[in-house]
Subunit: 199 residues, 2 copies
């Protein structure tokens, strides 16, 4: 039992370290030796836990990081009173992550996705699932707020896209204000589409 | 004179090769040896032309690729009859690039920006200039189509953000249809804001 617990904890520690490094540095810049050193995992444990090597580690890291951010997003959206509050809360979440990391972090998935999704099906499909879950979560809330059912998922995807682009622009400007501007415009559009449907 | 011409052409060839590789593979995955080999440039010419090494090469590559795409965008926007035509033309440009490259290419700037902008001021400032020029170009067209002057730049930035996010989502789905959906929603929003201002 002890041995199983230790294995689980080593595996988890390696994964948490890898997730942090992939998010901050990207896929190609993150080496397995760095993951081993920073996680303090015994040499040899890496291929024991991750026989698929760096690709497997990155794929699982994306699920870990993406799910964690997805849960933060869900909490913000479910606490919001209306679409404007939800979108502005999401923008603040990403802005805080950017500002708090000296504009190193941002979206936990985007850098690795752009680098590696075209070459690795394992990584691509994990990225797709993460963004799909984020959009689905927002879509459910939009329906609750009165967006027409058939529009909820496209509008949610549109919002995720606009926020992703704003994270990118904020990074290259070292200035997160573009997230506010994008959030305001998104919120305006969503409110308008709700009003347009009301009799 | 011959020598100057040869220097210029070597420099240009190295830069074009580097720009293609950085766009396709990202910053960390692109090595100087690969740039040398694929450009057929003589060894030693790299540090002669680019004393700042890989960082300088990436920074200049971003300007080259970003300016080229910016010119394509400007041509599309200036040929369009209205905002909907312009936005849909831009979405088609990016969709064609994604589809034609097996979803390897997309935005020529985004991957390197996410990887390296936080660590390199030279790269960050070039990325900022490229996105700034794209937004400015679209902003001028929006004013011509009747968007209120104070809204043109924020709306143009919003459009660039949404399209950037859509490129990312298209890559992780290996499916460019999200660009259509985002373009339609963007165009709808812009048209509505123009109508709202007309007496």
């Amino acid at each position: 039992m002890l041995s199983v617990a230790r294995h689980t904890s080593t595996r988890r520690r390696v994964l948490e370290t890898a997730a942090r490094l992939f998010q901050r540095q990207g896929y190609a810049a993150t080496g397995l030796n760095q993951v081993l050193t920073e996680s303090g995992a015994p040499k040899g444990s890496l291929y024991f836990h991750f026989p698929g090597g760096k690709e497997q580690l990155a794929a699982e890291s994306i699920t870990i990081s993406g799910t964690r951010v997805g849960e933060q997003m869900a909490a913000i959206v479910s606490a919001a009173e209306d679409p404007a509050g939800a979108i502005s809360g999401l923008a603040n979440l990403f802005a805080a992550d950017l500002g708090g990391s000296g504009f190193h972090s941002g979206c936990p998935v985007a850098t690795v996705a752009l680098e590696a999704a075209a070459d690795s099906e394992a990584i691509r499909s994990r990225c797709e699932s993460v963004y799909g879950a984020w959009a689905e979560g927002l879509s459910v809330a939009l329906e609750r707020w009165g967006v027409a059912p058939q529009d909820c998922l496209p509008v949610a995807e549109f919002a995720i896209c606009a926020l992703q682009g704003a994270i990118l622009l904020a990074k290259v400007r070292r200035d997160a204000r573009v997230l506010d501007s994008v959030a305001r415009q998104l919120a305006g559009q969503i409110s308008q589409s709700i009003r347009a449907e009301r009799p």
